[in-house]
Symmetry: C2
Subunit: 301 residues, 2 copies
């Protein structure tokens, strides 16, 4: 099957023509949804994809990611978890792309595991369905990393962490990161992981992340932590505490799949190795295309 796939996030527009599992054409730009005003989305889409529409008159057009948010082309209400390809296909919404032809926006998912607790995703649902994991845990490192539990090929539940944005806040906008210098010494990352163990819950050690964050500053101002280790230390501390939380929420597996930036996955693997957990890296484009194919297989045009 041929299809046109648009992966449209907050900061990037990326579109593909896919034949089976092979990308036969692609285009990208920095016209993410945060750069656009209401009403501009069709115009941007057609600028990049009009030729493809003519060349592939039968190909379904699918749009994934923040394009379905309130700031996107058209709001696609979140589908509830647990959800598999069938539920997600059933919750797609339409936009008109050109001359009556429809594009289909993949809805994000909402997870409400607990009274007063709610979590959301947009785009990651498609990656997870294409990661080749029927049962197990998938991690998606990034600005707002997600841990996703798969069960019988469906997304059972998930949790999002504030790790990446928190790193940027602490490193660049807080008193904690101010003493940090570059070039960085990566040895600080392991020392940050050590510190996170003080909040790991083992033998009652639970000093609190807010205490550990101030501790990074105290270690720097007392000279216990060299200034070139401070940036990686903050990263290790936050990564370690994300993992503390995830392994309290989800049963700790022997392996996890990870989808995302290679450098970030390497650090993540280093942190998970302390817990005896191995990481299988899954290329994001492969997962995106396979996931979308699974969703479209349930789609009656």
């Amino acid at each position: 099957m041929r299809f046109i796939l648009v992966d449209w996030g907050t900061t990037r527009f990326r579109a593909f023509v896919v034949d089976g599992e092979t990308i036969v054409d692609r285009v990208s730009s920095d016209e993410g949804v945060s750069a656009l005003r209401e009403g501009q989305h069709r115009e941007v889409f057609l600028k990049h994809c009009r030729d493809w529409l003519a060349r592939e008159p039968q190909a379904p057009v699918a749009l994934v990611g923040m394009v379905g948010s309130r700031e996107g082309w058209r709001m696609a209400p979140y589908a509830p978890c647990p959800a598999g390809p069938e539920e997600i296909a059933g919750a797609m919404i339409e936009v008109e792309v050109e001359g009556g032809r429809k594009g289909h926006i993949i809805p994000g998912l909402v997870c409400e595991p607990d009274a007063g607790a709610v979590d959301v995703m947009r785009g990651e649902e498609t990656l997870c369905l294409g990661a080749g994991i029927s049962d197990g845990l998938i991690c998606l490192p990034g600005t707002h990393p997600k841990w996703v539990e798969m069960k019988a090929g469906r997304i059972e539940r998930f949790a999002t962490y504030f790790t990446g944005e928190m790193y940027a806040l602490l490193r660049h906008h807080s008193m904690v990161g101010r003493p940090a210098t570059e070039p960085e010494d990566p040895a600080g990352f392991d020392r940050g992981l050590d510190a996170a163990e003080r909040n790991g819950g083992l033998s009652g050690r639970r000093v609190g992340l807010l205490h550990l964050i101030f501790g990074a500053r105290a270690a720097a101002v007392t000279g216990r932590l060299p200034s070139e280790q401070l940036g990686p230390y903050i990263s290790g501390l936050l990564t370690g505490d994300e993992i503390n939380g995830a392994f309290s929420l989800f049963a700790k597996p022997g392996r996890v799949a990870a989808i995302g930036d290679e450098g970030r996955i390497a650090l993540f693997s280093r942190a998970l190795a302390r817990h005896g957990v191995a990481v299988d890296s899954v290329p994001a484009e492969t997962a995106l295309i396979a996931g979308l194919a699974r969703i479209l297989a349930h789609h009656r045009i």
Copy 2:
């Protein structure tokens, strides 16, 4: 005994003439140490206190707070915990204020409760020694709140949290706080405390603070949390998790003493009431003067 007391922090200069436990004169300005360059401190001090020096030729001069930091008048090395008035008096360092007359900088304290763990304070040691608590817990809410354990009239150990600065980062510089609107609805604070219970460790609930912070955004974007509740919600979430950490580190008492801003202490009391802990508010100036008097009682001029 009469003494001249300078409480010189990051953002404020405040000086007092004290007779026994009574303030007989006072002056303040916004010439905190962060506003000054090296070498300017004596000049600022004399501008405000020269008349007092002439009028009180025998009065000891004591300086408390960030004035003893690297960015202050002169660096006063941290004294190690546990420490009482005698150890702190013995670790004071001198600066020349005028014509050979000395001023005495109260050192801050360092606490190293654990391998690789370090915490520091400057100024709070004096407040705690004057809080009238011989054995028990003292809390000092603020930008970087501190919990201090007193034992036999000495400071046994303490822990600092990043709560106040984290609130400012999340509310004003992050994606989490962006949807927040004013006027605020204070009901959000209790909902934030509810959310913090998911990281309280009771019945294994430990979802992680980084997850709960993202959850505030998810609750806002899904409409579960009204935008006017979001600011107080973030405050409640962070306050609740500070308390989670403190009651894991320190044995939970029936009452705690609190020194700081009244409005903040009111919120803090509300959060602690959930844990069955009562709060006794201690006025900061009273504690400062009583604490300094205890230190100076061990000082041989």
